[in-house]
């Protein structure tokens, strides 16, 4: 967390001063805006939190409900999502209050007496070290709370407009505000009123029955049969030995349970499989009473019993495996010919079972993928064509998700014959762990992701996959830090320069030659795309990592490319220089070549490129492919007035 760099911050450093549209945000939804977000689900809140960090953008978010979500919905948070929380600054807080999963127990019919279940095996969570972040369970409402708190604390100070639903829209790509949307107040004093508003971009995060999707003319495609689940959050006394452990419970012929322990030590969520229902059932399964679900659960869990003391939420629902035929408003036949102005995300795009704990997680990554691109385009830092990569990238992820969940659901729902291979489900679970943890996503080459020609220079940073952090020693404070944890959701590109074998030098080494070019050559991305008058690392967060122990690194010998100057005081930032030490060695941990490497990471934390230190033209060409020369700095006047405020303190002290 950077604090005081622009003058003393007296208050909570997580609460930013309002700026731009955040300074005097209109209470009412305006007639025209840059972005209209529909819904406050997991995908939408990520978009909102991200856009609120760009206060020059007027973004609004509408939600049908009259207020925040309080109960129910999803609760499984994969490690990739916690990484994302870290980028938004609240990972430790939410982990503190969540259930942390470290083990899954598999209960199966006792071969000696198949009417009884027995604990057959245990599987540790993330035994291979996929992430330094844990796998947690916490109510979805809390996840939404944290993102919305972040949106309110960011300079844009966005808060949802509750009690407003999206009705429909028309899109005219040639208009200044291409989206014309009809909205309706459904709560509060204006309930019943309809309005027409206009936006440059429309973002639909409005769920499986998305009206935005319908307005764009898309529909979900997939299976006709649906799978029904009873789900209940309960406070329970039981003799079942693993009530606070994640369990798959497969009975011989009474059905199956997925047991999810929840935050706080008492609540548990129980998913009870109610089987396949044809679409012709027409929702009748939803009338299943709670007593039936509890009775079924008790039959499955025999010889143990569940003495349910309170049901705090429950539901019966059916899901099919379905995927939308389009993720934005560009018709298939116009793909590549025009750029999109409307997008759908999350359940609006893909529906599936809850069993693999994927819905909320994949949805958040939909939002993270889209939001930084929207910000870059609206701020004039990137061409509109960047927006086409959203559908291209996330459609593949959605299809992978459907395929995975189909397989997983089938295995979970199958009746368990104790004479069968007892390890089948567990084997599948263990062999595919990277998927549910969120780390299988692999973006293929595009304008924002290069190929793998130079992958051998940094084997541990796979191009197209999320940057897997490792610990380094920061030379300024001589302390270990996770390199990836400096990657805030600030829309900046990361350029990690892993130095060659030489010690820091101002010239004469591959690393220093690169640094020289980076900071002064007219063709370097830094020179081309960083606005004059702001922080030197405002667009590219460049960091250097030396191979030596930190005690051998002296900052005076580090090139100025790695010591950016900050406004308003001209402070030299010495916090971007790293090394090995205290047992940490990122070159070892991520198999980085002693010759060094450049690792470029996208604003959404995916590795975009691995290049040799001398690949200057390739690096410049890569950024030239999706960046625009910056417009004049919108914040320049604000920065200088802030300077005046703080300098007056210095003046009072007679500097």
């Amino acid at each position: 967390m950077e604090i005081h760099v622009r003058g003393y911050e007296a208050g909570d450093p997580r609460i930013k001063a309002p700026a731009g549209f955040g300074i005097d945000r209109a209470v009412d939804l305006p007639v025209e805006m840059d972005v209209l977000v529909v819904g406050t689900g997991p995908a939408a809140v990520v978009v909102v939190a991200q856009l609120s960090r760009f206060p020059s953008i007027n973004a609004r978010v509408i939600e049908r409900r009259p207020g925040r979500l309080e109960v129910g919905q999803a609760d499984g948070i994969q490690a990739r999502s916690v990484e994302t929380f870290q980028a938004f600054g609240f990972a430790t807080e939410i982990v503190d209050e969540a259930y942390r999963n470290v083990e899954m127990c598999f209960w199966k019919p006792d071969p000696l007496d198949p009417t009884r279940i027995v604990r057959a095996s245990r599987a540790p969570d993330d035994a291979t070290g996929m992430s330094e972040f844990p796998h947690i369970y916490v109510n979805q409402s809390r996840v939404l709370d944290y993102f919305l708190r972040d949106a309110q604390r960011a300079p844009g100070q966005i808060v949802p407009d509750y009690g407003i639903e999206f009705v429909d829209c028309a899109i005219d790509p040639n208009s200044d505000y291409p989206v014309t949307a009809r909205i309706r107040y459904v709560a509060g004093p204006r309930a019943g009123e309809e309005r027409v508003v206009r936006a440059k971009y429309l973002v639909g995060g409005d769920g499986a029955r998305s009206k935005v999707r319908a307005s764009l003319g898309h529909r979900l495609h997939g299976e006709a049969s649906m799978h029904a689940w009873g789900v209940m959050d309960i406070l329970v006394n039981t003799d079942f030995p693993d009530i606070q452990v994640k369990c798959s419970i497969q009975s011989h012929d009474k059905g199956n349970i997925l047991l999810i322990p929840r935050e706080g030590g008492y609540l548990v969520r129980v998913y009870v499989d109610l089987g396949e229902v044809p679409e012709s059932d027409d929702g009748k399964v939803r009338a299943t009473p709670i007593e039936d679900i509890i009775a079924t659960a008790n039959r499955i869990i025999h010889p143990y019993t569940l003495d349910v003391r309170a049901v705090t939420w429950w539901s019966v629902y059916e899901v099919a495996h379905r995927i939308t035929d389009g993720f934005d408003d560009v018709p298939a036949e116009q793909a590549g010919l025009r750029t999109p102005h409307a997008f759908i995300m999350g359940d609006a795009c893909h529906t599936h079972s809850a069993k693999a704990g994927q819905g909320m997680n994949v949805s958040m990554q939909d939002g993270f993928n889209l939001a930084w691109k929207l910000a870059a385009v609206i701020e004039g830092r990137a061409p509109r064509s960047l927006l086409s990569t959203y559908a291209a990238e996330r459609k593949v992820v959605a299809q992978d998700l459907i395929n995975f969940d189909k397989k997983w659901s089938q295995m979970m729902a199958a009746p368990m014959d104790p004479k069968d291979d007892r390890g089948q489900l567990e084997h599948f679970y263990l062999s595919t762990l990277e998927f549910p943890a969120g780390f299988m996503t692999l973006y293929t080459p595009s304008m924002i992701t290069l190929g793998t020609e130079h992958q051998a220079l940094a084997v541990g940073f796979l191009v197209g996959k999320r940057f897997k952090s490792a610990e380094v020693i920061r030379r300024s404070d001589n302390r270990w830090h996770h390199l990836g944890h400096f990657h805030e959701a600030d829309g900046r590109w990361r350029v990690y320069v892993f130095a060659d074998e030489a010690l820091p030098a101002l010239s004469g080494t591959p690393c220093s030659d690169f640094a020289q070019w980076w900071s002064s050559d007219p063709n370097s991305p830094q020179v081309s795309y960083t606005p004059i008058g702001g922080d030197q690392n405002a667009v590219f967060d460049i960091k250097v990592i030396y191979q030596q122990d930190y005690t051998q690194i002296e900052l005076a010998n580090v090139p100025k490319a790695f010591k950016p100057v900050k406004v308003p005081f001209g402070l030299i930032d010495i916090n971007q220089v790293f090394a090995a030490g205290h047992g940490r060695d990122i070159f070892r941990d991520r198999q980085i070549s002693p010759a060094g490497a450049i690792v470029v990471v996208r604003p959404d934390q995916y590795v975009a490129a691995v290049l040799p230190l001398d690949a200057r033209e390739a690096l410049a060409a890569f950024f030239d492919g999706h960046m625009l020369t910056p417009p004049p700095q919108p914040d320049a006047s604000r920065a200088s007035s802030q300077r005046a405020d703080v300098m007056s303190i210095a003046e009072r002290t007679a500097l």
Copy 2:
């Protein structure tokens, strides 16, 4: 964090529902109250946060300033303080925003050219593993913010009454409200108005010039000479290589600097030694201008230079090593004859240099020591004599602090002859690290601390010292936890039962025999002092730790003494059962006898007793010495109404 145990909690689990005096707290300072706290410094805010967790107590806190502290003051936070933050629930949050110290660098005159300083050595912070918590630096204002936020979020919902100063008081031990205090409004619409208020107890945390101390007739005693310091918080560009590292910088003949890096990566605090001044100086040294302090710093740091870009706070002050002659209102000649009604804490009791980073830390422990005792006495759970232990215990700590700081200050201020032993300061620093980290405090036997007769049963839990946590596996969720981190500041006594070598059993083992006695014998503390109708662990937080791997522990075999039942749902709490596993073994780490042991820990986290599993009479006698039979449960009606609320959810679901 326990959540949902009394029904579904829809919101932030850190924000508690108001209760008692928190439900409709009077905006104006009332005429009569249980506790009047004076000041909102580090000692006072701990008292306030602690008392706010007992909403049956009407506590108020007055502060001269019109609002919160914004700049300056202390910034060094020792690991013991972070442990305390953990007890109040905000350790991870404040660590996230603080500077974390891992190393101290010692700069000394270059033997080859004593006009230049060179880095002579490095010393790691806490190389011996004194604590799992870090040593951090963050502005005092943020520490106060967190405690005051906690006070506001706790059921008592206490917020400070700003703009009110304490004038003086009279104490009549025979009155229902023994303290009669005169207060004066010094800010806001009532500025200038004086009032008289009455309190059962008065707590003075009003600093070195404490008016509460003066009213009690005490004064500070100590040296006549004072030591002057210039201190500045600056944003600076420099070629000094360790500007973001804690440094002691000793020049040959230009003076000395203590450099403290601060939160956020840019700000640093520089203490510049201005030497001894006689009291006859009468504060003239305080007129030293900031330019002089900066110039002195530049002379000391030669050949490097400090280009100060902004001074965000600075001060010149003198301190003497002084200690009060009394910590409460009981005159020395009446000690033991009557119990106290007024207390002073923190700087009101002890003044010294800032160099060892002790002031804020020791003050917080003053507050933590006092507050739980006040709560126990006011709620009728303990005799008034308990309050006499505050002065007895903290006076010793204060004297130790003065002695340590005298020595440390002398060494830091001494001119550095490069031909002398260069390691003297560093040697002292390393050999006494436990003191500045906050872990030297040792409470001697009293009504709340037993002797060390049975220390051999748990060598790693020294009686009288703070409980040094270690990791255990909780059997409910099969996850590792720091045992000590469950120790919230809730006023409860901890009874850790380290089992003998047997597996869990309902009878027939030393551990199960103890459990049987604990939960059912009329003489057991549990039966004697736990109110009927509340949680079974409301007074004693009892936990069992088995020696075996957690996979061998089945909860069904654990005695009910370790599975307390909770209101309102009668939920059986299975979260109090621990074991070894995943490489963790607390018996090994804390040298606990295979025969088992009982370790009793005070509400302020100090070890009160180590006893064998069969020492029932000694255990009962210990608690009988400072506990009273409980009055009727004040919360019973509230608990049952809450039950009705939540049960209606269950009823709606047709349970």
